[in-house]
Symmetry: C2
Subunit: 469 residues, 2 copies
């Protein structure tokens, strides 16, 4: 016998239900929608996971078979099950309601619940799936940190800074100036669009590098280091642009706060890591029960992720720093091996969710603002690609490096560009056409980068295609 | 750059925030509590996980060091951080609000959010943690299924049925009759209390057996098989008792439905499993990308868990059946190895949550109904223990078996007993004293069973103390 609490109540009603150890309240609550909801949330989460795993595996295998990085297939798999196609996995943020979700319609049909209750189930299931996706990208960056080497990363530090700075400045200036001069866009929206061109998606780029077996190459480490710095720069750029749009001025104290907190967090993590290394190994050696290595490691990773988020940076930066620190320990290999199946289970949730939330409707030329935005989109895409590709050229004194690969590695903008579009749109600064253009740019750079990266890293690396098993 | 959507908005406001790939709505939503909430939910989940992992690891290590099964320490660790002591991890079902949660108070202090928003964060965080705990017990039972062997389980099938039936009938009859004759309790509440004595907690008992290295012993397989049958019998008993309390009659069609669906599910899973075995290995061999074994396995496990729940059985029964089926394949060993770290990460969430939700206040003699219930509780505890210990004696024709161990293995009632108490209380049938007595019985059998089991399995088994790493 196990976890069922409200389950039993289900025998009295046409719904089925399951929940945890509830002392006295479950039954009183059973009369309310709250208790009817709980069981269905788990059912909805289980089915969502099944859909995600199907989409990710079929997508990854087809992509791999066609010579593309598997993650591209996971993204496309997400698009297929998501808002753009099958509607199996949709989210309320994009304006969907429970009745737009095929999964919710199915659950409502099989459980006979009211529309109101299903609406709540949909809301909660979406929140749970979003948290699981975020845990997925946190685990991904933790794993990437474990695969990376702090010393090697520091060794390419200067090149990474150069790549990051060039990769922020060039697209920003070219994008903003081009929109103002060529398209007559006013300054504020042009600045927003320019800012949206700055930020590389660590998640997508590091996953592709890892899949190509290039993460630990010098190029891979420069890209990764640059993407991390880029992330911090992007946060600062957004703070500046957003306060500019809001008040017409730059909130200098906030910018200084961000710079100081970001630097002290990353440096602090590395310094503290040198001390913590030893204690971590000592603690893990002391523990005699199951999970004696993986649990302390995840305590550290989740704590760092929390701190990264709490100081207005990002959870994934904290997880990455935690991985870097633990990579320095003797337990590295053992830990890496144990993290693989955990990542295999959680990371696809992130990529499929990203795909599922991508609304390809913005590419539909039948919508006027899309048509209007099309030329602008083409311009932004060119700037997005060229502006990052040139960063490779800025790397000096390393003639043997694959500079093109470095530049291409910085291309995917991922979801961050969408955030800029969103903030700009909410502030009223962006026209619909400009917003649509930014979204098209983000979609195309995200989906183009994996095959391009594979192409520029043409020479075969010693990659086991099936790393995990 | 990564997953931040509303994060960026945080720079405009005193809250911090992070969420996923949101196209256009995040910003509009940012004005609402919904968007302020998202980021804090992840922060709250990360901190809850850190608390859970600390509690589980410290508890498990201390328990192991004192010679008890680690899971007892995880339960006690949960009690320490939960509603009974530190209030770090509390749940709204037990009547707690956000202000009762130390974690929420901390988050409110650091984020400056309104009480209303924190209330919503608390609600969502609790829902997410409950789903994670349920996924934890699903993974546990999947792993137990993988560790078990269908043939061995079938070989002890008759003994398991005998143990299950005796273990349901004896405590039910003795408990009901005793309460009526000795305590003058009316029939309906006495039947409820008797029914609450029937159900063994698969989760706790199988975890302890696994920790003692006895899961695959003949005794272990009998206990496991009996606990599964017991689970199904318990569902039927509750259906009968609940409809009795509600309408005064037994809903025969529902009982027949349950018996048929339970039998066809378990048999169907086993038969289908024989066919699916081959296809599973073929599919896993085909897959070339990461997670090529673990993802198909979890698709199957989660799908079976969903089906188990959807037909009014339990999610964990589905997961157990999935594990049993996959145990038959050539991939067993490889899969088991990969499931270990996943279980290490998810299973403690379940046990700590069970502990955290246990309100030891019911043991407080200062409360009148607790005092009144005390004698009844002592009686119920004696029946609960003796009524299950005798089941071992009912096993025939196996003189070499440790019959005491079989009986003791059936003792833990876990949360299911609480459900009976809850259903009874909601139907108005149970007095406060009777309800308190049932809860005391459940708490004591749950916490007594692990050390007792260790004691009766005294002779050392060939167990590696640290199985996972």
């Amino acid at each position: 016998m196990a976890i069922d609490a409200t389950h039993w109540l289900s025998l009295l009603s046409p719904t089925f239900s399951f929940s945890l150890w509830s002392k006295t309240i479950p039954v009183l609550a059973a009369a309310t929608p709250e208790a009817e909801k709980g069981p269905l949330v788990l059912a909805a989460v289980l089915l969502s996971l099944v859909i995600i795993y199907f989409a990710s595996k079929i997508g990854a295998e087809l992509s791999n078979w066609m010579g593309f990085p598997p993650v591209l297939g996971e993204l496309v798999g997400g698009v297929v099950v998501g808002i753009s196609a099958l509607h199996l996995l949709v989210f309320p943020e994009s304006g969907s309601s429970a009745s737009d979700s095929v999964l919710m319609t199915f659950l409502q049909g099989t459980s006979g619940l009211s529309l109101d209750t299903i609406g709540e189930v949909f809301q909660t299931q979406s929140e749970v799936m979003s948290v699981l996706a975020e845990l997925g990208v946190i685990v991904l960056l933790f794993e990437i940190g474990l695969e990376s080497n702090l010393k090697e990363l520091m060794a390419v530090g200067i090149q990474a800074v150069v790549v990051a700075v060039v990769g922020v400045v060039v697209p920003f200036v070219a994008g903003t100036a081009g929109l103002m001069l060529l398209f007559g866009v006013p300054a504020i929206p042009a600045i927003f669009a320019g800012a949206a061109l700055t930020a590389t998606s660590i998640g997508i780029t590091s996953k592709v590098l890892s899949e190509l077996g290039r993460l630990t190459s010098k190029e891979g480490q420069i890209i990764l280091g640059a993407a991390v710095i880029d992330d911090v720069l992007g946060i600062i750029v957004l703070a500046v642009v957003a306060s500019l749009a809001k008040t017409g001025e730059v909130d200098v104290s906030n910018v200084i706060y961000l710079i100081v907190s970001a630097s002290s967090f990353l440096l602090g993590a590395i310094l503290l890591g040198k001390v913590f290394n030893q204690s971590f190994v000592a603690i893990a050696d002391l523990l005699k029960t199951r999970g004696g290595l993986v649990i302390p490691a995840f305590i550290f990773a989740f704590l760092m992720a929390y701190v990264g988020a709490a100081i207005h940076l990002e959870a994934i930066l904290g997880a990455f720093a935690a991985g870097l620190v633990l990579d320095e320990t003797d337990k590295r290999k053992e830990l890496q091996k144990q993290v693989v199946p955990i990542a295999d289970l959680l990371v696809p949730i992130f990529f499929v969710t990203v795909g599922a939330k991508t609304d390809l409707g913005v590419l539909n030329p039948a919508v006027p603002s899309n048509r209007e935005g099309l030329l602008m989109a083409i311009f932004l895409i060119v700037v997005a690609i060229v502006g990052k590709v040139v960063t490779g050229l800025a790397v000096f004194g390393q003639p043997q490096l694959n500079r093109l690969a470095i530049g291409v590695g910085m291309i995917p903008r991922g979801e961050v560009g969408l955030v800029f579009a969103g903030v700009g749109s909410a502030s009223g600064a962006l026209s619909e056409a400009t917003e649509a253009a930014i979204i098209m740019m983000v979609i195309l750079t995200t989906f183009l980068a994996p095959p391009l990266l594979r192409f520029v890293f043409q020479e075969p690396a010693s990659v086991p295609a099936k790393e995990s098993d």
